[in-house]
């Protein structure tokens, strides 16, 4: 066994020799280093849609390649430098990854709720960290929030619609203003009464069951930010239940997922959710019990 110290010594030695052997490379690196570059002078690598991110030189049929790219957000045709991706591809990848991280870790902005006068409730989690490490606490409302909700509706509404940040507050920010009015409008078109929407911080899907119990609603729609990927951080799902109860089977949830601009447009998704609510009220069932 080589000890850690010995290993470090070997690495230092090897690296030292490599540096000696490649003075030219070092010089080049230094030559293209610029200091004091303002952000305005740098290309914004996240400004491109992945569908348009194409850098194959002299392709035999560029038009066909671009058509292929239009049907997938996969990073095709980004070219390479030797066996590696290009620097801009690597940076874009990291930028997208950072957006995904931000969506998970950033606090949902209070200002968003205040500007719209949306009631804010909270799960039993006291921070993002607790939210991420204690799913069980994210499924229940804090005592204060439970009490607030008890007095929120004068009488039990037929339908409750609310949003929770889940794993992507970004998704709620991106879709809320479209999907909520689309759902409310759709319910109105069906002649269905819905209660005023609200927001739950650090919530997981199943917190809708406590919401159902407290509010006494028949159907509960929980809009939740989906775990972001590298293609989008703005994808949202709606989980819909008929007479949900705490601890009920997950099979009783009906879900509409992939609500984002490259998936289902938020307005159409909202209208579709309203139709599902209408069917649920008629069939008195949700999840696998409900044939859509």
């Amino acid at each position: 066994m080589v000890s850690d110290d010995k290993l470090k010594e070997i690495i230092a030695q090897v690296v030292g020799e490599m540096m000696k052997e490649a003075p030219a490379a070092k010089a080049t690196t230094k030559a293209c280093c610029c200091e004091n570059v303002s952000d305005d002078d740098l290309e914004d690598l996240t400004a491109y849609e992945l569908n348009e991110w194409y850098q194959v030189p002299n392709a035999k049929d560029e038009a066909e390649y671009r058509r292929l790219k239009m049907v997938t957000p996969a990073r095709l045709g980004v070219w390479h430098c030797g066996p590696r991706e290009m620097t801009n591809t690597m940076l874009r990848f990291r930028a997208d990854h950072a957006a995904a991280q931000d969506a998970v870790f950033n606090e949902f902005p209070k200002a968003f709720l205040e500007e719209r006068g949306i009631l804010e409730l909270q799960s039993r989690c006291d921070s993002k960290d607790t939210y991420l490490t204690r799913p069980d606490l994210g499924r229940r409302l804090s005592e204060d929030s439970a009490n607030t909700l008890k007095g929120f509706y004068k009488k039990a509404p037929q339908v409750v619609v609310f949003a929770t940040d889940g794993l992507s507050g970004t998704a709620i920010e991106a879709n809320y203003d479209i999907v909520i009015p689309a759902i409310m409008n759709g319910l109105k078109a069906h002649g269905i009464e819905a209660g005023e929407p609200f927001f739950v911080r650090y919530g997981r899907v199943a917190c809708q069951d406590e919401v159902s119990e407290i509010s006494g609603c028949d159907v509960c729609v929980c809009l939740v930010g989906e775990r972001p990927g590298l293609a989008t951080a703005k994808s949202m799902s709606a989980y819909i239940t008929y007479k949900g109860t705490i601890g009920m089977s997950e099979a009783r949830r009906t879900v509409v997922s992939n609500i984002h601009n490259a998936g289902t447009p938020a307005a159409e998704a909202g209208a579709h959710i309203a139709d599902i609510v209408d069917i649920m009220l008629k069939e008195k069932a949700s999840g696998t019990d409900l044939k859509l």
């Binding site: 038009a63 066909e64 058509r67 203003d177 479209i178 009015p181 689309a182 409008n185 759709g186 109105k188 078109a189 002649g191 879900v255 509409v256 997922s257 992939n258 609500i259 601009n261 998936g263 289902t264 447009p265 938020a266 307005a267 159409e268 998704a269 909202g270 209208a271 579709h272 309203a274 139709d275």
Partner: protein, 479 residues
Amino acid sequence: MKEKILSAGIDIGTSTTQVIFSRFTIENTSGEYMVPRIEITNKEVVYESKIYTTPLIDERTIDEDAVHNIIVGEYAAAGLRAEDIDTGAVIITGETARKENARTVLNFMSGMAGDFVVATAGNDLEGVIAGRGAGTSAMSLKQHVVTANCDIGGGTSNIAVFKENRPVDTGCFDIGGRLIKLDSTGKILYISDHLGKLCAKHNINLKVGNKIEYKEIYKACVLMAQVLATTLGFKTFDMDDLAIMTTDHPLHDLEEIKFVTFSGGVGNLIYHPYEGKDDFPYNDIGVVLARAINEVFAPFMDKVVEPAETIRATVIGAGTQTMELSGSTIAFSQNTKLPIKTIPVIKLAEEAEQFSPSEFAKHLEPMLEWYNDPDEGQELVALSLKGANCPLFKEIERYADLIIAGMQPIIKSQHPLIVVIEEDMGKSLGQNLMVKLNRSKDIICIDSVRTNQGDYIDIGEPLMHGRILPVVVKTLVFN
């Protein structure tokens, strides 16, 4: 969840009559947990009739009873009843369509081919249907090139040009295999007017009552083949000849055509020349015309491609290519009576969709007025719109306001308010219209269907548990 529907295609041409039945499979191809995406996943021709000679009483009249017997016989042979058929099309093509009893024939056909059938709709649409049935339209999408199909039947040649699976141009000529008819001894019984004029101009000696001379008729056929080569843009021969043989209009020379396919009875003979010794085996000039086309098109052979279907192109097109599905998220009032057939479509230029509601209404008014009969009142029309991609809800409401302002004459009438929008926003827009009109007006709001000013649209009964509506867009004018 799968649904299967049966479609009938019936083609009553100048020279032949054919029937096919096909079965469409409709499925939701999106996951259970997503907004549905309903598509036709399979089309299968389940029955093909033999190719009949179209029964005529005389030059101008289809033998209604004989045609009726053919169709009834084919239904029986296929083991189907009229009420089994969900969709389809009856096409009376070529010269026959202008014949006196075409309408009577169509009327009893509609009863025969289910509740939701399109009838004949003029040469332009027939050319498109043949091009779709031949597979030429699909070729334009697969290879990303501009293709044209030339459907040469007995009386006419209908040309349709396709780009990315969409028709972009059409033209029609009085060129076909039955422009001259012979008796069994080779004596000329009939010459079409257009061909008569062409022959007169070029001093070609062909007269009714005379015996046909091969050399003379071959000359005339070469001239007709040159007209086709001219309109396709391959080589310009004689523009006067082109004018003489034009039915309504030639191609508009909009796109450079990469490949041309030929369909129809004569089209088939181009790829598979008649092998017998006789020059007039069908007592007409079809075989000679095909030979002349092969000679004239010899320098352009790299552009001539054989399509998937030739002689059956029109009937296959009628049976499998006329119906499309609306988008999967649409809205319509449950008590609207369907199907509704032949609804005229009105559409303003796309810029008008950015106008204020009153400005939009002002521009729409003369179009609605066109369909306002002093005695009958406002007729039913459908409003076509482009719409917005991934719209904000404010945008949905703005569109609803435009529609309500513009379509007042329809809203006040007993007709349903029909909106056909291209972008995926039909359900939210439809629901918004229902709310804004206090849920007191019947509404049909479908999306993902492209229509233009001057089109007609048929809307069928809902499919897939009422999620979608089948539609047939009948485009009569291409510019």
